[in-house]
Amino acid sequence: MQLLENYLKAVADGLPPDEREDILRELSEDIRSEMDEKAAEVQRPLSEAEQREILRRHGNPLLLAARYRHDNRTLSLGRELIGPALFPFYVRVLSFNLGLTFVIIGSIFTALIVAGQRVSVGAVAWNVLLQLVIQFSVVTLIFSLIQKHMSKNPDRWDLGAPRGVHLDLGYAKLGKNVRAGGRDSAWVSRFESISILVASAVALVWLRGVQLDPFLLFGPAASFLKLAPVWSQVIPVIAVLTFLEMARASINFVRPDWMRFRNIVQLLLGAGALVLILFVLNARSWVIPGEGAGTEILRRTVQIVNTAFLCVLVAAVAINAVQLVTRINRLRRAGRKQASASSVDAVC
């Protein structure tokens, strides 16, 4: 029933959270009844191809999930750019990106104000608007391309190719076992992969933008603040790590059943990120005064912004270290599970 489980997990991604469990139980029961009836008809357990055919008839899991939602929100500019099936994911990615950007910008402006720099409301508003336009444009463009592809090919979806499909039509209560995008799930949600691809693409555009025009990061303070030389060393490495994560997400989009691959790559990339942050932390100075700066108030501003950077970097080290330990544990747990499954198979 691995295929059915995969299908239900894909549906779960797009269901309203408060009704998710109930809908999945009912949907699971419906599909199981159909599979049981078919198995009784052919007087043998269904083959993988037959199960796939039944699931295919039930339709694209994202479109199916969208029918259960009451909001049916879309994004239309003249014509529909993002339909109800993709809209919740679009909002999730956009909120995450904007939230992260505003936390960074907010920290810098706070540091400037604390240092006694004059920050006008207009400057803050202009910076916020700029971030909003950039993030909105890039995320919307990427999601509208995905939407276009989905609308053109509504039947082009796959459940992956899980290893060892179990064909027993046992009566396990699947509803209880279904975890939407659970951390120990045997399958990487395709929307997790898409969200990572979109968020990473936006991050790369933003990173390049900051390199070309520090106004994107510092706002009006860009006239007297500069990024320290350490950033020119690490930004290319950040870009490489981001590209690798995008490559990983693309591979998992095609092969959502490659869980071990995801766990190992994320572990390696996490370790790389931790080393990188420690390297940056070691620089001790992350912002330097720009040209023409020399006043006492400016030196204080640089000091406060550097203190803010220090806090952010220390927090990043802590978060990364915890994530790394969690990922190692997850990998060990998955290894143990696989080993016990192999020993059960060997006994049988």
């Binding site: 009704e19 139980r25 009912e26 419906d30």
Partner: protein, 112 residues
């Protein structure tokens, strides 16, 4: 015909529109007798009103939230299934909808 809309697409949209209202009537009518989702889907298909579960289950949930249906989870054949039946309010509405349907049907028959 609107530019960019082909004949087949237009017909399909109109057919779906025509079916949508009738489906509610068919579902309410079929649920005079308690059934669970899968058997309901089969009953409707056997009567020539095939409906995919992506349409049926959201419709059942909507009708239940409107108070026209009642449901309960119960075990049958060692499996938990959700059984639906017409509620007292649903019975009243069904009766009114059926007479409306008969009125429309006879009007149309007279016109065609």
């Amino acid at each position: 015909m609107a530019p960019g809309t082909n004949h087949h697409e237009l017909l399909e949209n109109l057919r779906l529109e025509l079916r949508r209202g009738s489906l509610v009537l068919a579902v309410l009518f079929a649920l005079r007798k308690e059934q669970y989702g899968y058997t309901l889907r089969k009953t409707l298909a056997e009567q020539g009103m095939a409906i995919d579960e992506g349409t049926l289950y959201p419709l059942l949930r909507r009708l239940e939230s409107q108070g026209l249906l009642a449901s309960e989870w119960r075990e049958e054949d060692k499996r938990n299934k959700r059984f639906y039946r017409l509620s007292p309010d649903g019975k009243v509405i069904l009766k009114q909808l059926l007479s409306e349907w008969q009125r429309i049907s006879s009007s149309l028959n007279g016109m065609l």
